[in-house]
Amino acid sequence: MNQFQMLEYAAWALSAVLGLWMLLDMIKTNRTYDEDLLTSSKEGQIDDALVIDPPHQGGHK
């Protein structure tokens, strides 16, 4: 195996890691949060008082 082939395997491995990372995080997020909250975004609305960032503001389950 030459160096370029090692680079190719590294590219495949990194791709798999990144893909799995996104997939697992998506599944985890889908399970952790209520669907109504995740799909609560409304088109063009700018109302910062109502926009929350749950992990940063704490809250309740």
């Binding site: 909250l37 609560s40 409304k42 809250g59």
Partner: protein, 461 residues
């Protein structure tokens, strides 16, 4: 402890963190790769002079696009860009089609960029003396890495685009200056320019790839829900982006056509890199190689951003399953749309030939531009000036819209000359998709909820 359910009135939205520089980086970042490769196929269609005419005619087309887009977007500031505009101004069926044009144009462009990046790495491997080198691992890695970046957050994504695009644009300017365009030491246009070898038919044919100089600049308005001041940032970012591209396109043509004969330039894979090689300067070669790689990455990155916003917006309005309309609570990105479009881009990048992928992207873009010319005329008729607040008012209406419509018609003919089958296939696909939407999907749409703008009743209604 984290909040996992919605309490009354609370919602998660996309994050408003972007400024005009990010908008510029999004628009120019998507397009600038066209200067590093692709535009020169216009030379092959009709000679170097035809490519210059195509460059400026396409420049006029896109100036009309940028002007029209700036006015409408500064009024309809919503993710989804032209999709949201079509929904409010023309109607749901038009909006569904425009949404598909956007997703196709950007996903195909993303796939084309990934193919190009894989090719560049493969070329480096071959030049380094390695045998049996493959491009596929790097094609997939490009898409995965940039999708991951987009998944993590819009600010880092478009800040990276700003850096990549600024370096790539600087590389074009430095190459232009290094060839001393004020002398004839390096550039020899008199020897290389040969008029119009295929006459004016060649000029029309070259328009097909002339679009490549600017294709995607209209993507700036996809950031509408993520910029801090949409009415100011979007027109500013779009118009400065267009000026940047006109300068870069003209410089690129001037340098390349003064260094290479049209027979070579018309089929070169990386014309700006080849121009740097012809100067004999090693630092310039490195700079232009870096510029080529960076512009390709920036383009794919911006395409993922734009395609996912369009798909997300359609999901949010129930034009597609609402599942796609979700926002990540931590990253504040349309994460499901980003993940869903990854395999689509990988499949096209892995299996489809580059010229087909590019043509599907151009055709989707062209359909979108045709819609824009009609859209702005309907917009001005239904909501005349002073009936709603506009962040920007484009001058000389309806001249830009009519010019755009005319140039789109000519370009359809140009595409038909080279890729008639693909053009017809794409038209059939959109016709079938429209029937599906009209007879099946539209019954799931909440008809009142999709119209969110606080506008007065349109004139005549």
């Amino acid at each position: 402890m984290t909040q996992t359910t919605a309490i009354h009135g609370e919602k998660i939205s996309l994050l408003r963190v972007l400024g005009p520089a990010h908008v510029w980086a999004l628009g120019v970042g998507i397009v600038l790769v066209g200067e590093f490769m692709g535009w020169n196929f216009a030379v092959g269609k009709g000679g170097a002079v035809a490519a210059l005419i195509a460059c400026w005619v396409a420049g006029l087309l896109y100036t009309c696009v940028a002007m029209i887009d700036s006015e409408v977007t500064s009024t309809v500031a919503a993710a989804g860009g032209q999709y949201a505009q079509a929904k409010h101004i023309v109607g749901p069926l038009m909006a569904f089609n425009v949404g598909l044009y956007l997703v196709f144009a950007y996903t195909m462009l993303e796939a084309a960029n990934a193919i190009t990046l894989g090719y560049l790495v493969q070329t480096v491997g071959t030049m380094a003396g390695f045998a049996d080198v493959h491009d596929k691992p790097f094609i997939v890695l490009t898409i995965m890495f940039l999708a991951w970046l987009n998944y993590r957050g819009v600010y880092a994504t478009l800040t990276l685009n700003l850096v990549l695009t600024a370096i790539a644009f600087s590389a074009v300017v430095i190459l232009f200056a290094a060839t001393k365009p004020w002398t004839h030491d390096m550039l020899n246009h008199q020897a290389f320019l040969n008029g119009l070898p295929y006459g004016w038919v060649g000029v029309i044919a070259s328009l097909h790839f002339g679009l490549w100089y600017y294709l995607g600049i209209e993507g700036t308005c996809q950031a509408a829900e993520e910029v801090r001041s949409p009415a100011r940032s979007l027109p500013l970012g779009t118009m400065t982006g267009m000026i940047t591209l006109l300068i870069a396109a003209t410089m690129t043509w001037y340098v390349c056509s003064g260094l290479m004969p049209w027979e070579y330039l018309g089929q070169a894979t990386t014309p700006l890199f080849d121009a740097a090689r012809l100067t004999g300067s090693a630092p310039l070669m490195v700079l232009l190689f870096v510029g080529t790689v960076f512009s390709t990455l920036a383009s794919a990155n911006g395409c993922i951003n734009d395609a996912s916003r369009a798909w997300f917006s359609m999901g949010r309005d129930r034009y597609l399953p609402t599942w796609f309309g979700a926002v990540h609570p931590k990253n504040r990105t349309p994460y499901r749309s980003i993940v869903f479009l990854v395999p689509v881009a990988v499949i096209f990048a892995y299996f489809a030939p580059l010229d087909q992928v590019i043509t599907f992207s151009i055709l989707s873009g062209l359909l979108g531009y045709t819609y824009m010319s009609l859209n702005v005329m309907i917009f001005r008729r239904k909501w005349p000036l002073n009936t709603i607040r506009r962040g920007y008012i484009h001058p000389f209406h309806p001249l830009p819209a009519l010019v755009l419509l005319f140039l789109c018609s000519v370009t359809y003919f140009a595409v038909f000359l080279g890729y008639g089958t693909q053009l017809i296939a794409m038209m059939i696909f959109f016709a079938v998709a429209s029937l599906w939407f009209h007879f099946h999907r539209y019954k799931y749409v909440r008809r009142g909820d999709q119209f969110t703008m606080q506008w007065p009743r349109p004139a005549g209604y």
